[in-house]
Symmetry: C2
Subunit: 340 residues, 2 copies
Amino acid sequence: MSITMREVAEHAKVSIKTVSRVVNGEGEISHSTRQRVQHAITQLGYRPNLMARALVTQRSYMIGFLVADICNPFFAEVSRGIQDTAKEHGYHLIIANTDDDGDEELAALNALSARLVDGVIKFNRQTTTPQPPDQQNAPDIPTVYINSTPESLATLAAATQSPITNVSADIYKGARLAVEHLVAKGHRHIGMLAGLAPDVNLMRRRRAYFDVLREHGLPFDESHIVHLLPRLSDAQAAAKQLLLANPQFTALFCYNDVLALGAMHACAELGRKIPSDCAIVGFDDVEYAAAVLPPLTTVRIPKRELGRQAALALIQKMANPAAKINLPLLKTELIVRGST
Amino acid sequence: MSITMREVAEHAKVSIKTVSRVVNGEGEISHSTRQRVQHAITQLGYRPNLMARALVTQRSYMIGFLVADICNPFFAEVSRGIQDTAKEHGYHLIIANTDDDGDEELAALNALSARLVDGVIKFNRQTTTPQPPDQQNAPDIPTVYINSTPESLATLAAATQSPITNVSADIYKGARLAVEHLVAKGHRHIGMLAGLAPDVNLMRRRRAYFDVLREHGLPFDESHIVHLLPRLSDAQAAAKQLLLANPQFTALFCYNDVLALGAMHACAELGRKIPSDCAIVGFDDVEYAAAVLPPLTTVRIPKRELGRQAALALIQKMANPAAKINLPLLKTELIVRGST
DNA sequence: TTGAAAGCGCTAACAA
DNA sequence: TTGTTAGCGCTTTCAA
């Protein structure tokens, strides 16, 4: 068993409340008393029991982060943003991997909300249609969403009374930059390697892709897009098939950097040089995008900043759950490298 | 404020203790009573207050993971192993990034040990000599180390009374496999791209590298190794310099996959074809090792298994802190791909 | 099979 | 400036 405040109080011959005051730096305390207490604390090696404190104050100073998979470098970066900001404000972070599974997510939410965390940050699930939180089971806890689409937010808003808080990067704009870059490079036949629908974030990229092509009077067609799970193993085969079916393509716009890598493999397999025979643009700018050969042109999402903004918003929201928090749409940016 | 056990008890017209029994599935309870209680629980939406429970039981069912940077894909994978195992056993995981900084680490340890977590898993710091934990400040909390060297463990053991628990992969063996593979491929002049000394894990690779070359009567020399921070930006320049200084090299053994990527860039810059002009072997087998072009031959460390074993060991240790836990040295494995 | 009372270690109100 | 008292919501004796 460890040292309690009471023991410190006895040791320092003061009341327990005085110790509490010293520990929390509150109230006016005479210098000599404070010194005595401090001395007792260090001598006994006292450390406050956070569980007891949390029980009284109803605040655990922990927040939860629900994420599909922390191994995904994109999510890892966001988590660092959250974590660094949380730490600055005295919060700890509990990460729960959901593997993009609704039941896992609900289970995690339930576990965390049992007064364990003061709030939650979560991505909307990727591979399925967004569902309104099950009011029967899912607890009402201050929550900040990341990168949710207006549509899924509308669904959410309909299901809850309190205002929804969402932090997003400007995916549509980023996707436009990518496709416009390819057009500017003189490409007229551009294919797209896309994620599986319905993905809350795919739609924005699709729309941008179609919009830009249409605006430039370039050919576009549903058949110019191939949909797949964003996994490298599938990407290579899918990209190869797409290029074989559309030999006119001189460029590919990819849903994310992993798919872009798959496309690079496909080009290697087909003997197509990058970027001369086929230009490739990715999305996210994960760490290794700069490291592959040739380095990947991609759209950078400000991942840490996304996490930072989410954490800040959550801290506000935990202080005042009813507050309507307005957040800027974070800027995305085209990073031009060797693959275009 | 949320529903308490007392309210459930009143609603179900039983004592608070009976509710507790139902919630925790303990003791014999008549079917009808249990039903009534269950009904009250779901109707009121009761969820136990974990802080209160932790206060009484002295167990928070949370564990901490101290890591340099969760964005490093190697650490992320280990964390998944920990997390999945922890979840199976009812534990949550708090991740603290230390950026390989001693003060950060101590601060995190102090914060977590204030009865917040029941135990901690940590990597030894990489870039500095291992230090004995400061007994004044660092709290004594069940701890499991990952991938510590015998030397650093000895230092630790001297400073603490309780037995040290450490989970390791067989780095030396893996490094041997890598260099032996290069030798078997006919390479006689093999350089090494190494991390910065003193790194607790570099030594094992160095020793393996020298041992294998010596055993085969191949030339080895301290000047055949270049030391640098394991960052891509530095790696390319360092590899280039090494290859220019030693034109006889036909193969490079790299400290990790990031450095290997840097070496690949250097080869591209020098117009050396991989693997015909220069073979490259990495270490770790991070996710993108298979994704680069050509795919990287590398030594796989069982990252998730490392995390899993660490979590299991910690769970044992938390149950019985004095227990001496014997753990197997986890097997490393050479994954041969296109870069050799 | 069920219940009453005590207390985990802390903070919050109110006194002194 | 300092102390006293009463809980926070739960589990743990012990008793019925």
